[in-house]
Subunit: 367 residues, 3 copies
């Protein structure tokens, strides 16, 4: 069961070229393409004639032609031509999904089209702002999307799973400073301030003062001399259905980072756009914007590879969890303190699912 | 659910050698072998002792010996010897299936053996007639067999899926001239005349007059000079349960092909024997007989490869359909004009399934 | 449905090193490791926090730390540390399984821990006795464990499946001399005498007098001159839940082997410890001890490869059986004389399953 009246990332902008792209989203096969005039389009990936995948067809001008018997669909999913006959059968149309291209991504709305307000798309401004350098990628995971959300809301796993890159003992040792819901004030002063909305959000923060820098940041920020100490922060924001943004960084110890002065350090944002494919598989679109050395391509390559490899470590663990869950779905779980944010996020999602089930889909959001 | 009281192709004749062959047909594991005196035999591929696959055994004279504990089966599926004991257990026998070797193929009857009249085997006379050169093959497809029947009964897909070999725009643009049921007269004068039976059949035809020849025929028939025009025909015959024969060809434009004079052209038959493996997989036995340049091995090779590659294009599409169907089995379909023949074929099969369910299996056929 | 109140082999001793080992046993994911002080430990392979596989974690001293969020488990499966908090949540513990290291194997008890008496572990004394040379291995099979038990209790299959190594026509031709239950006297004088328990056991024996030696034994025992004849024996013992031991060998024909004088021959034991993984897959731990030429490494290599390859032949057949069973689980089976031992074994297991279901688990065993 998935939240439907929300914007999900369906693809990178560069994935939509002259060929249609098929991708399953929230369990539904979707075909996407870019019209001759450059507009992204999405509808069901199932020819209404004999259910051929339209993603095996071809783009003709602004339209999509089935690769099997040549039915032509306009960008709204209506059949506008059937080879060998002069009129299309009445009712020959597919469900079209609202899509918007923004922040280098293609966003899709799988719910009630009447509610698909582009203003509800999260503000991922770093992607289009020259003061930020952005690396990123796409990963496919054979696990329920919630496991990935949990992963990002409880960063103590860095200590154990990512000791070679971003983890050291301080993350797991340091409790979350606060976990709050529903107010934009929680990220005031952070890189997340500009993007956060005042919805069913969850915010958490962790401050690690005067610690050894973890390996990846030590190298990226030049804190790699013996004895270098840093103040490190992790400000975490979850927004339904499954967006997670992190403001993470390190600054020279004692220069005031906890109070907002991060000039003596480096700041990264981790942008996590998580889109359920099925109940047991997930699309993961991620970026890692930074606001320092933005022209340094060598650093960009180093970070792209480092983060990608870090996420591969996550995949191994998350797919392992899914295997164990499948072996005994009813086994119970025990909560720990570090779950504070993910428990709040699960509650927010459960509440919204309940509302969607009772027809109040999205009614409170942005109200 | 499959029709049972019909002959299906189970194997190529050359597949039955000194080793038993296991193949699932209509969902049932079947073992086939050739006796010492050359007769093809088929029964359940399941030793009645401990269910070892008999296809892992060996042929001993006219009998088949299980490769596990050595039980020996005669060609009728009776256990005739058990190592270490003098008599076979009463009731130790397997269901044997009537089989007939004809037209280079092994035909199997999965239904009521009492009705297994070899006279009901379709007349694929091209395979044994020296006036015809035959190429052919076997393909396995992960889709319901009906999707392949549909494919062959609506050749407009050639325009879109097979543009490199046998398709061009004229196929999809030209409506079927007629679709009829239940009379052999419909294929009078065609290469199908000799094989058609007057049963629950469906016949369709398409005539494309004065058109550009499609690539494969242009090369095969020598219609490859700039400006060459041809008259092209497709005469299509479906016979239950899942046999499709096509009389297809091209002749010099204006020489009278539509009226039956095809001396100035080339004629091919496409013989499609489709055997369900399971509800979602299919055995496809095909040949492509021609009645010109019958001694030209280079042409045979060219055609064998060309048709094989064309069918690989079909597999991609048909397996794609099956994937999409599996994702939402209840999704509805919309009919178009080009479906006229396949709709009739589906009706014929549905009617026969109904009759088999009510115990009148095959009663009308050939009656 | 599996018997639970029994010792199963879970691993070779050398498989438990500094890394945890995950293995599914009786359908349950189990993690095993060796503590710093060398003791084998096993509990559920599922972190009680968020169900990460603990087999992806690491051993820390005597404890196991989850590789995801760092929870630490003591050897009894209790959470003793949670990073970032001072006390572990009440009830945070996993089910621990009694394990014992003996006879080079790790034995696990999947049932009621209160009944896990190490004295009930079978006596595989050959593994630790310098008078015996031992080769062995591990194989994974995609079939129900009972199919492998059946295989070992009816050695007539050697004639048909293993003609290249241990089979010839005499095995299938020679009936079992006797099949008995529940008395240790049945293996008196055999190499099995020392290990057999007086429980719900089944014993069978076959004597082949004055026969040609099968290939593997001819080479191993030096009976490879033209005309060499041997007396061959197979003494077979099944003990629930799924242990099978064979005393097999050949001696110069007429030297008295049937009466117990085997000095003029060679004796092998085949030790088969069969552990269900799931309803359709099986762990197979085997050894092949011998009490002659115990220092001959070349012979050991020859036998290790020969037996391994012989068992690969079994895998092909057993997995074939499982495929055929899955295609029609309800198909019935017919018994033959050679099944006498396996039928008794199935009865013993069925009776014990009944007893476990009614709470009398193991009550009679060793009583």
């Amino acid at each position: 069961m998935f939240l439907r009246n929300f914007w999900y990332v369906a693809a990178w902008d560069h994935e939509l070229g002259p060929q249609p792209l098929g991708r399953t989203i929230l369990g539904e096969p979707v075909v996407m393409y870019r019209t001759a005039d450059g507009r992204p389009v999405a509808f069901e990936d199932r020819c209404c004639h004999r259910r051929a995948p339209l993603s095996l067809g071809r783009v003709v001008g602004n339209d999509l032609q089935c690769g099997y018997h040549g039915l032509v669909y306009d960008p709204e999913g209506h059949v506008i031509a059937v080879p060998g006959q002069t009129i299309a059968p009445p009712g020959a149309r597919l469900r079209a999904y609202p899509v918007v291209e923004r922040w280098q991504w293609i966003w899709i709305w799988m719910g009630d089209a009447a509610e698909a307000d582009p203003a509800k798309i999260p503000n991922i401004y770093w992607h289009d702002n020259p003061e930020w350098a952005v690396v990123g990628g796409y990963l496919h995971m054979k696990c329920h999307y919630q496991l990935l959300v949990d992963n990002l809301l409880d960063l103590t796993h860095e200590t154990f799973l990512h000791a070679k890159t971003i983890g050291n003992e301080h993350v797991a040792r340091t409790p979350l400073a606060k976990v709050t819901r529903d107010t934009i004030a929680d990220v005031a002063g952070s890189a997340l301030e500009g993007c956060a909305t005042d919805g069913r959000s969850v915010t958490a923060a962790r401050w690690m003062i005067g610690i050894d820098p973890p390996p990846l940041y030590a190298k990226a920020g030049g804190f790699d001399k013996p004895g270098d100490k840093v103040d490190r922060w992790q400000i975490i924001r979850f927004e339904p259905p499954s967006h997670v943004w992190l403001d993470v960084g390190v600054a020279t110890a004692g220069t005031g980072a906890p109070d907002g002065d991060r000039r003596h350090g480096i700041t990264h944002v981790v942008v996590d756009s998580i889109t359920p494919e099925t109940e047991t598989s997930t699309h993961y679109f991620w970026t890692f914007p930074r606001n320092y050395k933005v022209g340094d391509r060598g650093l960009s390559d180093f970070l792209q590879k480092g983060v990608h490899n870090t996420f591969l470590e996550d995949i191994g663990m998350l797919e392992g969890q899914q295997r164990i869950i499948d072996a005994d779905p009813a086994a119970r779980e025990v909560d720990i303190n570090a779950d504070a944010a993910s428990i709040q996020a699960r509650r927010a999602v459960a509440q919204l699912l309940e509302e969607e089930a009772h027809g109040r889909a999205g009614s409170r959001r942005r109200a």
